[in-house]
Symmetry: C2
Subunit: 347 residues, 2 copies
């Protein structure tokens, strides 16, 4: 999803007489720091940076190895921090990335966005925007331990005078096991549901359904995993900005409690060579979803000058494809596939 | 590419009073067999079936293991034979598939095709078509032995009275090494060039360039491999049907001499664990090309009821992705990447 944001920033930034938003934000951070009165841009950026640090810290404790931290900047303003742990003790590959983008949307992107955000003027030829988000994918070694994905993002378009034009939040998190432990799926969903319920009782049921629909490998007629939540365009038609931000904070903070108990329980479970092979095939399906269906990934990859290594950190260290592989009837593998074909209500 | 053909056959076949082309072809094969006077459809089908048998036979001799042969039929006429060898002694995964499709093109596909084939009436709402082709991908175990891909296909649209409306051939073959042996690339290109030159001296230079352009992982700024040839829309503006078919035959028959000497030389070479890991990363790039950029694959996967296992036989048994992996300066791995970034003239 983060990739979608980069990819839109194709045009060279418009050079204005007045200082750009990126320049003004930089100055504001220097002079006053970030307070509750700062623009949402800066507050969201600060929040996801804090969360990135905390998540990386906790994952390092579980794994015993350190993340590689790469900080990068964008010429037109913004940049990112990619934290990746590879060949860990627990994680085959774990990426926790944040990015901050100041850019200009070209016309086709504006038209697409106006469908959901009527505040956007349909007649402008280009539009300054800001986007920031945290993206995470964790692939554990142990086939009993599920892969998890999370992304929370904030998007804003700007008026010519530098004020905010439209804004919205998006995101979600979903769990992809190779071997299904019902208690894990229930715990994951329950933790997310509790977080949602604190803000709006309608969130979980709507975003759970949206998740099942989005993370769907259509060509395989199966979901990527056992779901979670997914949503986009959470804007003023839904909630005030403070309420929306407050929900995003609760949701992102729910990540560690949603996943840590699961990985702790599964990371050292015994497994067979056959089970490792099944994991490889499930990893293959993960690759298929990300490269064929994920809007952000494919859009990003088709865009010049994207940071490909950050986009593709979501791919597993290893994956496999076997021709005409069918799980045995009544096997645990078959049970997983059955559930992926017909998403369950877990809570 | 074969996938593109399946994917177009989305509509239910129109039920006509008169026997369908599929029915007539079936009858003709029964009554008279296939002769030089038979429609090109039947001659191409017979030719690729013969070639499939011969290629499978020779690959089985090299590998020592047998292919799994799956014959399938399509409700609307036609079908295919998928031959796949998995976990062989030489090949990790090898697929040699043929397919025959009688179908109906929906309007958007007709409009796309008319760009290159003016014989197609722009005003029809649907159009019967026939497509047949042979598709092959071979992934050897040994990282010193290159992956090879080949596809030759024949396409035809039909007038309402059952006569041929437009026809064209397409195809090509390309080599994807993990470790570059110049002599292999030279031998592969030379064999193809000789085949091309027998028919038209302009073919090889044009189709070689087209291949470098098509099998290009744009988001990585590198070619998939060291190329070969690729072409589409070889029709009456280029050559008569007999001449075109004659070229296709020469080109397909050139496959075994182009690849067998290479695999024979490389299949038992010693290699290190590190070299095997590099192969896995190159396999990852192969997956990226096929899932992100290959028009046929992605189109096919987004189409309901395609035979996914036949389309995805092109994916390797195993693949890998490492974050921020860079080959060592001056290494053999770096040399491959350099060549992929700047395609060479091999003959």
């Amino acid at each position: 999803i983060g990739a979608m944001v980069y990819s839109m920033a194709t045009g060279t930034p418009t050079k204005l007489e007045a200082p750009s938003i990126a320049e003004r934000d930089k100055l504001a951070k220097h002079e006053n720091g970030i307070t509750e009165n700062s623009p949402m841009r800066l507050r969201m950026e600060r929040f996801i940076k804090e969360q990135q640090k905390q998540i990386v810290k906790e994952l390092e404790e579980i794994d015993g190895k350190k993340f590689q931290i790469d900080t990068w900047t964008r010429e037109s303003g913004g940049g990112g921090i990619s934290s990746v742990l590879q060949d860990g003790n627990v994680f085959e590959k774990a990426g926790v990335n944040i990015s901050v983008v100041y850019g200009t949307l070209p016309r086709p992107a504006i038209e697409k966005m106006r469908v959901n955000h009527k505040a956007i003027d349909p007649d402008v030829t280009s539009l300054d925007f800001f986007a920031t988000g945290l993206s995470m994918v964790l692939h554990p070694h142990n086939p009993m331990a599920p892969t998890v994905h999370l992304n929370y993002r904030y998007f804003e378009t700007e008026n010519p005078d530098g004020t905010v034009n439209a804004w919205w939040f998006g995101g979600g998190t979903d769990l992809t096991p190779c071997y299904l432990f019902d208690e894990d799926a229930i715990h994951f969903h329950k933790t997310i549901k509790d977080a949602c319920d604190k803000h709006d009782k309608s969130y979980y049921p709507r975003f759970k359904k949206w998740c099942d629909k989005y993370f769907y490998n259509k060509h395989r007629n199966e979901c990527r995993g056992v779901g979670g939540i997914f949503f986009d365009d959470l804007d003023e038609h839904e909630k005030g900005q403070e309420d929306a931000f407050s929900f995003i904070q609760t949701a992102l903070k729910a990540f560690l409690p949603s996943y840590i108990p699961i990985i702790t329980k599964r990371k050292d479970m015994p497994f067979t060579e056959q089970e490792k092979l099944w994991q490889q095939l499930r990893r293959g399906r993960y690759v298929e979803f990300n490269l064929v269906h994920d809007r952000g990934t494919s859009f990003g990859l088709n865009t010049p000058n994207a940071r490909v290594e950050s986009i593709l950190m979501s791919l597993p260290l290893t994956a496999g494809w076997r021709y005409m592989h069918e799980p045995e009837k009544g096997s645990r593998e078959q049970r997983l596939v059955d559930v992926l074909r017909e998403p369950r209500e877990w809570v």
